[in-house]
């Protein structure tokens, strides 16, 4: 009974969140704070990355510390294709692209394939080694983009327009906000199906007791690898949207602290829940912008808050609500 109640409460939260998301632009106008739309867009994008990471941390029990790599790869796919669309084709043969229906699936695909490769190696280990290795491989991609001077190296790569979507004016921030919210809604729906499917059942079994899963005849590796790749693809979508928001990509997207930020969002909101990471992303973005108004040294508050959350509120915000 208690479980059913919790599920219903989560649904209520979801509907309330969706309504708030839909009227946010009107709210921003009413309050005279147009920045809210950008904040909302930022939240939706980070939420996509965090939800996909939660598939690993919360559902499969894999503590990946390299999520920023896939976020960055998604972003750079957008940036690099835009760069070549405005100039020479890549290697003289591959033309650039600026249409969302080409670029975004490519960004998702690039990130997913990279995750497949990194996962194939990292998943040969577990526990602490897995954490260290995913962190290290993400750092490798960071260095790769720092050294790619063609694409701006350290300074990053800007481009002029957002990817074209039929019926969406490229300069319309509100329209882009709705695109991101729609993407988040689609990701949430897809993931809710995924975690309830046979595949999702297996992942949750692996989280709860990998040894037992072996004893009932399951090879866990291919399932962990598939989850890792799907999560990477999700981060790729988030990265592509993020690149579009700023019309700029830089190695900062792949910085290891970005991976840490995604982890924080998941844990802050509540691991192993669908909406938890969304709440975590919202809290993180709002807290950052709020603390940053008070002091440039907002990290000195954020750090201890994180320690306290881990020590005393491990179930996250959604966990406390239950």
């Amino acid at each position: 009974m208690a479980k059913g109640f919790a599920v219903r409460r989560e649904q209520v939260l979801g509907v309330a969140g969706l309504l708030l998301a839909l009227v946010l632009p009107n709210l921003a106008v009413a309050l005279g704070k147009p920045d809210l739309v950008t904040l909302g867009t930022q939240i939706a994008i980070y939420a996509i990355g965090a939800v996909s990471l939660d598939l690993l941390i919360g559902y499969t029990g894999l503590s990946s510390f390299g999520h920023a790599a896939f976020f960055g790869l998604g972003g750079y796919t957008v940036g690099i294709l835009a760069f070549h669309a405005a100039g020479e084709p890549m290697f003289g043969v591959i033309p650039g692209a600026t249409e969302a229906w080409i670029v975004w699936p490519l960004a998702i695909g690039v990130a997913g394939v990279a995750a497949l490769a990194i996962g194939a190696l990292s998943l040969r280990t577990e526990g602490v080694s897995f954490i260290m290795i995913t962190l290290a491989f993400a750092e490798m991609f960071f260095f790769l983009f720092v050294s790619l001077k063609t694409y701006g190296g350290d300074d990053g790569l800007g481009f002029r327009r957002r990817n074209g979507l039929p019926g969406v004016a490229p300069r319309d921030d509100v329209a882009f906000y709705y695109v991101c919210v729609a993407a988040l809604a689609a990701v949430l729906f897809g993931f809710s199906r995924l975690v309830g499917s046979r595949f999702g059942r297996v992942l949750q079994g692996i989280r709860q007791n990998p040894r037992r899963m072996g004893a009932i005849g399951l090879s866990t590796y291919p399932y962990k690898l598939a989850a890792f790749s799907i999560a990477g693809a999700g981060a790729g979508l988030a990265g592509a949207l993020h690149a579009n928001l700023l019309r700029f990509v830089s190695p900062d997207m792949l910085h290891w602290t970005m991976s840490g930020d995604f982890m924080i969002m998941v844990v802050l909101g509540g691991t192993g829940t669908l909406f938890g990471p969304v709440i975590g992303a919202a809290v993180m973005v709002l807290l950052q912008s709020w603390l940053a108004q008070w002091t440039e040294h907002w990290m000195i508050v954020m750090g201890p808050v994180l320690v306290l959350v881990v020590l005393f509120a491990r179930r996250g915000i959604l966990g406390l609500l239950r």
């Binding site: 199906r193 995924l194 309830g196 499917s197 046979r198 595949f199 999702g200 059942r201 297996v202 949750q204 079994g205 709860q208 007791n209 040894r211 037992r212 899963m213 072996g214 004893a215 009932i216 005849g217 399951l218 090879s219 399932y223 598939a226």
Partner: protein, 248 residues
């Protein structure tokens, strides 16, 4: 009488410690075969080597006519053997029914199905419900495994092992931590399985072992020092020496 499991010359060292020392014995199809021995005799190691969780340094394991020594765990489960664990090992967040349904799901082939909700799949839930009823947990199907009593968790574990369709169950101390009444219930369940499924039982509860076993193998320092019927084992001087010598 066909031999289902044939263990020949297994050796397994942990640093300077020898946990399996030229270990050999047979399990005959249909029997309940108990593996006993003093603490540290290598019983759990033997289960680990047979189930494929550990690799032997030397020796062979033949199961159902095929050499499985090099097979990974999952392949051995497909071939028809599965194990339970000394420490209770269920999926705590899932209900009893979900625990068993997951076994049928794994048995039904790969689980790369990403869309359809598994919660409504009758093809999994029905046999799972029947299995729970058979093992005496029919009324507890919707209780999360973490909320089950200890004895019920051990029953659930047995249900999961049976659900794999195994010809051979490797049971590692299924009575560990159970009270008298629960132990008796588990003994009854195992007695009910006799004849249907071949069982290799590691157990400290000697009353249960001598009540249940068709044959017993005694392990000391990783070696099988005797194998035979409960009656023969009781009278075996080497066994008396190992046990009584240990106790004195």
């Amino acid at each position: 009488m066909t031999v289902l499991l044939e263990v020949r010359g297994l050796v397994r060292r942990f640093g300077g410690l020898i946990a399996a020392n030229n270990l050999s014995f047979d399990v005959v199809e249909g029997e309940l075969h108990a593996l006993i021995g003093p603490n540290g005799a290598g019983k759990s190691t033997a289960i680990g080597l047979i189930s494929g969780e550990q690799r032997p340094d030397a020796g062979r394991v033949r199961f159902d006519g095929a050499d499985v020594t090099a097979l990974p765990i999952a392949a051995r489960v497909k071939a028809g053997m599965t194990r339970s664990f000394q420490i209770t090992s269920v999926l705590p967040d899932f209900t009893a029914l979900e625990n068993v349904a997951l076994v049928y799901q794994v048995r039904a082939g790969h689980s790369f199905r990403f869309w359809r909700p598994a919660a409504g799949e009758r093809a999994l839930l029905e046999p799972a419900g029947a299995m729970l009823a058979r093992i005496g947990l029919g009324g507890r199907a919707d209780v999360p495994a973490r909320d089950l009593a200890h004895g019920e968790q051990r029953q659930l574990e047995l249900a999961m092992a049976l659900a794999t369709g195994a010809k051979l169950l490797l049971l590692d101390e299924p009575m560990a931590g159970l009270g008298t009444a629960e132990s008796q219930a588990m003994t009854d369940i195992l007695a009910g399985l006799k004849g249907h499924t071949t069982i290799l039982l590691v157990e400290h509860d000697m009353d249960a072992v001598f009540a249940l076993a068709d044959r017993i193998t005694v392990l000391v320092y990783g070696q099988a020092i005797a194998s035979g019927t409960p009656k023969a084992i009781r009278g075996d001087p080497a066994v008396r020496d190992a046990y009584l010598g240990e106790d004195a």
